[in-house]
């Protein structure tokens, strides 16, 4: 397939995941700031912005935090920006997407650009956005052929997911809000119920271990790495050449997480950082191997 098309699918996967993960994280963080005021709002806002690589502009109310993170279309670190970037990529490959996928994404984009973010209560607005993103994922899941394009999209989604879980874990809800923080971390990844059903008591360390190493939860870094590896193997089966370095990157991450000793609280941080580093390197490698193989052609006179 065309590199340009493949690239758009890859980024479509990444941006949808980024938007969804940011919405969940913001909704949960907002709820925590409102409900448990033991942490000054300025601090609580700053840690989230920092985790999402956003400049700290002195935001000090939960409402303002939502406004900044819903953001605008020009900054793809924000929700509106990520949705808009996902839509730009979808437009470029509109002919290869199912009509339902494009519609679902477009309606999320329209809802955001028409100012849903200014509805009275942020929780309600965020929920509406999340709902539309879930529809996009659902439609993709049941309409998209499992072809090369799909594997690119999944690869993008999983690499972004590792990055977003890493960002979530960098916030340290467990240290800031010792009583309600660990549950909030899990909830922000949609993992509270699965965690509780595993029979563990909620502690900061166990919650963090769960999001890094659990064997069945789809947002644990370990499962993400396995899914990313599977996507690369899928690409290889479809004839993608030059993917051995990429496979090495995701495969090593997967096996490192799979065969790890149970890490101590301190070691979890290393796992998280290594996983994010591996995801970044894998992203570079995807870029090099599939989208930018020959560099930019320069005409000389």
């Amino acid at each position: 397939m065309l590199s340009r098309i493949a690239e758009s699918f890859y980024w479509l996967g990444r941006y949808i995941e980024r938007a969804e993960a940011t919405v969940r994280l913001l909704a949960e963080h907002h709820q925590l700031l409102v409900e448990d005021q033991s942490v000054p709002h300025a601090t609580g806002c700053a840690v989230l912005l920092e985790a999402l690589s956003m400049p700290d502009t002195g935001v000090d109310t939960p409402h303002e935090l939502v406004r900044v993170l819903v953001g605008s279309e020009i900054d793809p670190s924000t929700i509106a920006g990520a949705v808009s970037a996902a839509r730009s990529n979808a437009r470029a490959i509109r002919e290869s997407l199912s009509q339902d996928t494009f519609e679902a994404l477009n309606s999320a984009h329209l809802a955001l650009s028409r100012g849903i973010a200014f509805a009275a209560s942020p929780g309600v607005a965020l929920h509406n956005v999340l709902e539309r993103l879930l529809v996009v994922n659902g439609v993709v899941d049941w309409t998209m052929p499992r072809d090369e394009a799909y594997h690119f999209m999944v690869l993008g989604r999983e690499l972004e997911r590792i990055d977003m879980v890493g960002r979530l874990l960098s916030i340290r809800h467990d240290l800031l809000w010792p009583s309600s923080g660990p549950a909030a971390t899990l909830r922000a990844a949609g993992g509270l119920s699965p965690f509780l059903r595993s029979g563990m008591a909620i502690t900061g360390a166990d919650a963090r271990r769960f999001l890094v190493l659990d064997t069945t939860f789809p947002r644990s870094m370990r499962v993400c790495a396995a899914d990313a590896e599977e996507a690369v193997r899928g690409l290889q089966r479809r004839g993608a050449s030059d993917s051995s370095l990429l496979l090495r990157e995701v495969g090593m991450l997967r096996s490192e997480l799979e065969y790890a000793r149970t890490p101590t609280a301190r070691e979890i941080e290393q796992f998280v950082d290594e996983a994010r580093g591996a995801a970044q390197r894998a992203g570079d490698e995807v870029n090099r191997a599939f989208f930018r193989q020959h560099g930019t052609v320069v005409w000389s006179h």
């Binding site: 309600v124 509780l196 008591a201 992203g283």
Partner: protein, 540 residues
Amino acid sequence: MTTAPADAANAPVAPFDEMITPDGTPRATHAAVMDTLTSIGASGLEVRARQRDAYLDRHGITFTLGERERPLPMDLVPRLLMSGEWQRIEAGVIQRLRALEAFLADVYGPGRVLADGLIPRSLVTSSTHFHREAWGISTPNDVRIHVSGIDLIRDEAGEFRVLEDNLRNPSGVSYVLENRRTLAHVLPEVFAAHRVRPVNEYPERLLDALKAAAPPEVSRPTVVVLTPGVHNSAHYEHTFLARHMGVELVEGRDLYCRDNTVYMRTTSGPEPVHVIYRRIDDDFLDPVHLRPDSVLGIPGVINAARAGRVTVANAIGNGVADDKAIYPYVPKLIRYYLGEEPILPNVDTFDLTDPDQRKHVLAHLDRMVVKPSDASGGYGLVMGPSATDEELAQAARDVISSPRNYIAQPVVTFSTCPTVVEDGRIAPRHVDLRPFAVNDGRNVYVLPGGLSRVALPEGSLVVNSSQGGGSKDTWVIDDGVGDERPAVEDWSDDGATVPWPPGYNATRRDNSPSAHDDRILQQERQQQQAGDRAAGGTPC
């Protein structure tokens, strides 16, 4: 404790209002919340109310009334309790529980309190919730009341009093947690000015207490929540608790007893169960010993409990201690077992088995509340001032024919709280308070706040959800805004000293290159414009 009310009490006394002082000025403690609500305005509150309904519906936060599943109406105005007020409630609840635990251990054991004549033996043995089957069953950590919900009201003087004890299956705690989440979701602004004590520890505390109650030889106890099934009014709460504790929600048919061990049927074979947090009534628990027609229970579970192989929480037979006929004696029990003065007083109550008190009640029936002594949920309650003559006559006949089955209390006008009524207006409505307490054998944890139930119809004093009551998010406020938390730099733990591996860039954010490439964008646009021009025909 059964002092006859002074006749001066004939005149209706104004209820204590938690927001407005008798001279009409708002209490300073409520100012911030009321300012916020005023600035949102009536029409704004109507919008929020719709968002709240949508939220509750979507989350399926419901209770079942009759055949219908409906959301428990949650009022948008929170109820505020200052930390000083709360301290007293907490201490009073803990004290009362300690006395009631001692009482249960006594009546299902040596019977000291009966031998000493403090409580008439007949009152205990005639209680429908006194189960001889439970006599001599010891509890591993001496806890029988693992979970309680003691109902409090605030009288005309603003003093908290105990209205009734719920020591069997008090429900409503899930609404406390959900109300907090819901309010923060739809009305985050009201939280701005206060530091509210969090409530979300509850499931964890409950699970710890249930594990602590397991038979001592079990190192990793399996806890289950036993529900009567999806048609029970509190089924939502049962699922909530099971989910938040991460334990199985079971029905009677999922469990069976063999050789005094309770097992649950699983796809990988029978699995032993050590603690059953049951949300079904005593009568239905074990058809072998109790109601033989029960299909909700587990045949043989009482024998298993007696053999010490399984713990049933709350314990069987607790109902004798929250029997309304025992209620007037609880202050005496506190003095008897603990040697302390009760922190939270009772509401004046008439023992109808006493001829003099009965006579007094019958003469003033129109100013009394008559309650069946073994019922809960507001069923069978006759509210004197609002009852018809026919209802009063029937109540009198009931009291005369079976005085043991009823108690009477002078109507207490409990306190009012600002509440959103029709058209987004705010008006006073009567509220009660059910603080939930969990006893793990070492400590009693009282969930900060508890469930405030509000009687939504104007002037109504019946708050039961089964009778059209709603609820309020209840805040325990820590006075003074806490800035004593360490600054960001200081909350690093061991993790922060780990050096980041090389090649990892924490602030890096990858983005799609082409989506924001201005040059491509410009040129693509020009192509489009060129096309437009071509189609429209160019000037000149």
